[in-house]
């Protein structure tokens, strides 16, 4: 078992692909078919296209605040691909890659950022919780889902995400502690993208690594190169298998980098220089995986160009399907607070509608 040999106190990243896309850990290379490899690459590119188009729409005034996932595609696509259909995904808010793998329709994703709650109404069978904005709070829901699995005797597991900033939160501690005490099947993934808005990772904690925090909870922790899709898949897969077989929770630190802004409201040039960003662009997870696939002769530049066009068309049509047609129905604001509206809400809705009708 790899986890037994992992020493989270040391900064030795678990890695399978190097920056040039060469396999440096053949023994751990996941056994994936060509179709699976192409699916993973397509999903990473899809994520990137969705982000780039959303940022462009936002600049044109056609999209509201948006939190791009640029640079974290391998962390999310790799970890989410290790899940089975019945498993639960509990995201924070920057989990585009994981949403796509877990079957959240792009229309839902864009609808959410476009400002309509229906975006968070997941289709039946998609076991993904809505975006959780309050930092760290979703970790507790993941722990609860996992504890419930144990109580019900179900075998599915939970994968949840937090940022490096979120590890400073009390909810981070409480959730992992609960999951550990109850031996709940939960994989806690820290996306250490080096920044919480502008605050650097070193300002969050004096710990050498975030993975080492696992030691205090008595659970395995592992530091993974988050820009290596194979390492993320492999580490998550092993953690999931252990959890499914009653081995309890795991903490994974995915060491990655947010290439874009925190959200479209943020200006990263205020807190980091171009040199740093350029260095991380060399470690781009999409580029790294592309190099691997090119070396393997699975893809070509021409193939990728065609794929990009196809993805862009899909993204544009998904956005246009919701643009200018997604204003909130007045009734919807009122009627989803309880199964049945109490008289107070019925009255407020009626009064407001009367006002609107009288104003015509």
């Amino acid at each position: 078992m790899r986890f037994e040999s992992v020493k989270p106190l040391e900064e030795n990243h678990y890695r399978i692909l190097d920056i040039d896309g060469k396999v440096i850990n053949q023994e751990k290379l996941p056994n994936l078919t060509d179709d699976q490899l192409l699916y993973l690459y397509r999903t990473m590119l899809f994520s990137r296209t969705i982000d780039e188009k959303a940022l462009s729409y936002q600049r044109q005034g056609r999209m509201l605040t948006y939190a791009p996932n640029l640079g974290q595609e391998a962390t999310q696509v790799g970890s989410a691909y290790a899940m089975e259909k019945e498993d639960w995904l509990v995201p924070a808010f920057r989990e585009l890659g994981a949403w796509l793998v877990r079957g959240v329709p792009l229309k839902n994703i864009y609808l959410y950022w476009y400002g309509n709650e229906w975006g968070s109404h997941m289709p039946e069978g998609v076991k993904v919780l809505p975006v959780s904005v309050p930092i760290g709070s979703q970790f507790q829901h993941a722990a609860g889902i996992g504890i419930a699995n144990n109580i019900k005797g179900e075998k599915n597991v939970v994968v949840t995400y937090i940022g490096d900033g979120g590890t400073s939160h009390g909810d981070f501690h409480e959730a992992i502690n609960f999951a550990a005490v109850f031996n709940a099947p939960v994989i806690f993934i820290i996306q250490n993208n080096q920044y919480a808005i502008s605050t650097k990772r070193k300002s969050q904690t004096k710990s050498e690594t975030l993975a080492q925090k696992a030691l205090a909870y008595g659970i395995p922790g592992i530091l993974v190169d988050g820009n290596d899709i194979f390492a993320m898949y492999s580490a998550t897969r092993e953690a999931i298998e252990r959890a499914r077989n009653g081995g309890g929770p795991t903490l994974i630190e995915a060491y990655t980098y947010r290439l874009g802004a925190h959200t479209t409201s943020d200006d990263p040039t205020l807190y980091r220089d171009d040199k740093e960003v350029e260095e991380w662009k060399e470690k781009d997870p999409v580029l790294r995986f592309k190099r691997y696939l090119l070396n393997k002769n699975l893809i070509s530049e021409e193939w990728e160009e065609n794929l990009k066009k196809e993805l862009e068309e899909e993204v544009v049509s998904s956005f246009e399907a919701i643009e200018n047609k997604s204003d909130t129905e007045i009734e919807d604001i009122f009627k989803y607070h309880f199964e049945k509206m109490p008289p107070q809400l019925e009255e407020q809705l009626r009064e407001y509608k009367d006002f609107l009708e009288g104003g015509k």
Binding site: S137, H141, K152, E174, H337
Partner: protein, 326 residues
């Protein structure tokens, strides 16, 4: 054999009845398992239903509620206990940001049939943070129901209704009267509707609206003023949110006078909301300004001072007389 119980026993029996009826119910919180809770509200449940369904949680209120969110989404009905209302604040974020919002956020995709129980209120000579009545904090939150019983019969029927409710309910138990008196109540499960007040005493001269442990103090005050020929109508609100407005509006239309008695601080308390509703819906029937007898806008005093803070029958009776003479 007659089933004669006090409030804490009624809570216990409600949990037991419902756990027998519904295998998805789980009960947990600090010390609720082996010990049966610091007030023994969950006594005997772990022995009867096992450690999977009744268990001690690590000492963290936020995660007690936060894991409940996950459990409810995953098909269970968590009935969690927060040991004292004064310790509910670490869970405030989970309650406001998630418990109250999940149905609306997901447009009905994820709902949270869960109950958060907490003993509340003063009058038991407790340590700091063990005597608070901050129901207004929670009643202000859209998407959350806040229920407070005042008798064993109501405690059982309302708790069962809260457990069966498809939405989250904060169930506040007046610990001052946990063991104050007993009632004969049905042994089997029964429901009382959430959002419905109860007329405790009918009267003509003024309407008194109260809840929790204060209902008994109001009843004592009522006995005092009856000797002077004043007959109050007493309404036990039972649900703070969504409150039964019709109950007291109709009563005030009859009596023309309203008095609200609560042990929560006066400013921005639930009494302010009740008076607003009376002004909106019964203004022309009023013969005196709606009035409040409440706790002060102070920190709840340590035990040597709590008798001053809590509305007493004497203070309530004096205000009744002033209001009737107005």
């Amino acid at each position: 054999m007659a089933n004669i119980l006090n409030i804490v026993q009624a809570v216990n029996q409600a949990l037991e009845n419902e756990m027998e009826n519904d295998p998805t119910i789980v009960v947990y919180g600090e010390d609720v398992g082996l010990e049966g809770g610091v007030f023994r509200a969950t006594a005997g449940l772990q022995k009867k239903f096992g450690e999977k369904r009744v268990f001690d949680a690590p000492l963290a209120e936020s995660a007690i509620v936060g894991t409940g969110v996950g459990m409810a989404i995953n098909g269970l009905k968590p009935v969690v206990e927060l040991q004292f209302m004064g310790f509910s604040y670490p869970a405030f974020n989970q309650i406001i940001s998630h418990v109250a919002r999940m149905r609306n956020r997901s447009r009905g995709r994820y709902t949270l049939p869960m109950v958060i129980r907490a003993p509340y209120g003063g009058g038991i000579r407790a340590l700091e943070h063990h005597s608070e009545s901050t129901e207004a904090l929670y009643a202000h939150i859209p998407g959350l129901k806040v229920v407070i019983p005042s008798t064993p019969y109501d405690a059982k029927g309302l708790l069962i209704a809260a457990i069966r409710d498809p939405d989250p309910v904060l169930f506040l138990e007046p610990k001052r009267i946990y063991r104050a008196f007993k009632q004969e109540i049905p042994e089997n499960a029964y429901e009382l509707p959430i959002g419905k007040a109860k007329i405790v005493e009918e009267g003509e001269d003024l309407t008194i609206i109260s809840w929790g442990a204060m209902v008994r103090e109001v009843q004592k005050a009522s006995e005092m003023v009856k000797e002077k020929g004043i007959y109050p109508e007493i309404i036990d609100l039972r649900t703070i949110s969504p409150m039964d407005r019709e109950s007291f509006v109709e009563s005030v239309k009859k009596t023309g006078r309203a008095l609200i008695v609560h042990e929560a601080p006066k400013s921005f308390g639930p009494g302010a909301e009740i008076i607003s509703v009376i002004n909106e819906k019964a203004f022309l029937h009023l013969e005196a300004p709606p009035t409040r007898v409440t706790g002060f806008d102070t920190t709840f005093p340590l035990p040597r001072g709590e008798n001053h803070y809590l509305p007493s029958p004497e203070r309530i009776a004096k205000t009744i007389e002033d209001l009737v003479k107005y």
